[in-house]
């Protein structure tokens, strides 16, 4: 399934200066793996050693934080949009 991943400015240099990437996968985790396959450096930037997300990385599916869904196991559908953002803003 074709998923769009919107990339924050802080990650774009590791993704050929693209603002977004087209990836494949049936879950958020698979979509991110597909992203890492395209742009290897992104894995070290946003994934932790166990394959999860680093603690200051937020991922949103259609505007909802995936931690309110099923995390990396959240199913995704064709045409869905994932947004990666830093978690350290606000307050």
């Amino acid at each position: 399934m074709a998923i769009t991943v919107k990339l924050p400015t802080q990650l774009r240099d590791a993704a050929g200066n693209q603002t977004e990437a087209k990836v494949e996968g049936a879950t958020v985790g698979e979509a991110l793996s597909s992203l890492y396959d395209q742009h290897g450096e992104l894995r070290t930037r946003i994934a932790d050693d166990g394959g999860g997300l680093r603690r200051f990385v937020n991922v949103y599916l259609g505007g909802e934080d995936i931690r309110f869904l099923e995390g990396l196991e959240t199913p995704v559908n064709d045409g869905d949009e994932l947004t990666i953002l830093p978690a350290v803003a606000g307050g």
């Binding site: 603690r55 803003a89 307050g91």
Partner: protein, 433 residues
């Protein structure tokens, strides 16, 4: 694009300020709290390597502790008296003087709670009646040094008040983004300054997400996004002032509210700064954090013994603390653990009772965040968690006039005709002993 050039330009340099007492630039880099990667002092807030938060790193200030103390004491009665510890390159000043708020000895509240010595840091005395004037003062000063001409923020209300007021005083256009369901008092007290109020149909975390995205698209200083490392430094002055007002001593225990966890962690950092340069002796106080039960991701993490703060959907009257996804939550948990403190939560009913308790015993009327702090203080005291000999400081961060609805119907108003007889009938025996 031109704004990008402006945004990432080197900091403007300032001429020396012979009369201002400013000695040197103490800040030397932005440093990742996670992986220690350093960056120049420009408009950035997140580590490109690991996404960790950036904070300002300083070189040791010049001079001895005595010289530093004299310089502070000769400074203005605003937060700029601590300019040696703030991340500005030029003279520290702002159009709306902020800080040096009263530290009030609260003997009646202390007696009620069984505490020997209790002080209230009364932040309602700031220009827009909350501690947010401190962080905005530093953020705007730094934003102007970096060449920004428009300021913005994601706010739960107090920050909106402060950004709009300080921007108005400085003559800068501003945009404040708030949840659409914010208390009316906070919206009215923001719009009056002539800012652009943008009400978002969503909670604060949605507002914050939008501003994080917009900060990459607009040439604006979002005070708590792209210039957040400087903004956060303003909260250190809460500790500096407390220590100075206590006669250069450290309290044993601090109780402070937690929304993002920024204030909580920076207060500790402020005490540590003064210890490091020899202005104080001892150690950082026992740090106790206060959250509302309806939005307590940090208290829940603390109770579970983990620094992983699972985000929540806020549902509390304490809207100024209603951040379900707290940026500094993990550090707040670590700080409470490291200092022998605790992070507690209280119900909405306890918050209202806390507002009334503080008002009735100190004469200070606080908003819901102060109700949270007072209620947690009371809860800790009742549980015997506070040694009766401790010196305790509670940070009351905002004014009750901002959340008037919470005390509605908590007291009676006696309505009578302008008649002595009616008064006597209503208050027979009162005050005639």
């Amino acid at each position: 694009m031109a704004w990008e050039m402006r945004r990432w330009a080197s900091p403007r340099t300032f001429a020396a300020n012979p009369g201002g007492g400013f000695i040197s630039l103490p800040a030397d880099a932005l440093k990742c709290k996670e992986c220690s990667t350093t960056y120049p002092l420009d408009a950035r807030y997140v580590c490109e390597r690991c996404f960790g938060p950036l904070e300002v790193a300083y070189t040791a200030p010049t001079g001895t502790a005595d010289e530093l103390k004299r310089r502070i004491q000769a400074g203005p009665h605003t937060l700029w008296r601590y300019a040696d510890f703030l991340p500005l390159t030029g003279p520290a000043r702002s159009a709306l003087p902020t800080g040096w708020t009263p530290l009030v000895r609260a003997d009646r509240l202390a007696e009620r709670l069984g505490i020997r010595e209790l002080w209230i840091k009364n932040e309602t005395a700031n220009p827009t009646h909350s501690f947010k004037d401190r962080v905005v003062s530093v953020a705007l000063a730094r934003a102007q040094e970096l060449g920004f001409e428009t300021v913005a923020c994601a706010s739960t209300g107090n920050l909106a008040n402060a950004v709009s007021a300080h921007a108005a005083a400085a003559g800068l256009p501003s945009y404040v983004f708030i949840p659409a369901d914010l208390e009316e008092e906070k919206i009215l007290a923001t719009g009056a300054y002539g800012t652009n109020v943008v009400a978002i149909r969503g909670n604060y975390d949605a507002v914050n997400r939008l501003c994080t995205e917009l900060s990459a698209e607009r040439p604006w200083a979002f005070v708590n996004v792209n210039v957040r490392p400087y903004y956060a430094e303003g909260s250190k002055t809460l500790a500096y002032e407390t220590a100075e007002q206590l006669g250069w001593e450290i309290p044993d225990r601090v109780v402070a509210p937690i929304a993002s966890g920024s204030l909580f962690t920076k207060v500790a950092r402020g005490f540590q700064d003064f210890i490091d340069v020899g202005l104080l002796s001892g150690s950082v106080p026992t740090m106790c954090g206060a959250q509302a039960e309806g939005c307590s991701p940090v208290a829940q993490a603390f109770a579970a013994g983990t620094d992983v703060c699972r985000p929540v959907k806020p549902d509390t009257i304490a809207k100024s603390l209603a951040i379900g996804n707290p940026a500094d939550g993990p550090y707040a948990v670590e700080l409470a653990q490291a200092t022998g403190g605790v992070i507690e939560s209280v119900t909405d009913e306890e918050i209202v009772a806390g507002i009334r308790l503080l008002a009735e015993t100190t004469g200070i009327f606080t908003e819901t965040a102060g109700g949270v702090t007072t209620a947690v203080l009371a809860k800790l005291a009742e549980a015997g968690a506070i040694d009766p000999d401790e010196r305790v400081v509670a940070y009351i961060t905002g004014d009750g006039l901002k959340t008037l609805g919470t005390v509605r119907d908590t007291f009676a108003v006696t309505e009578i005709a302008p008649s002595v007889d009616e008064f006597e009938a209503a208050f027979a025996g009162a005050g005639v002993a």
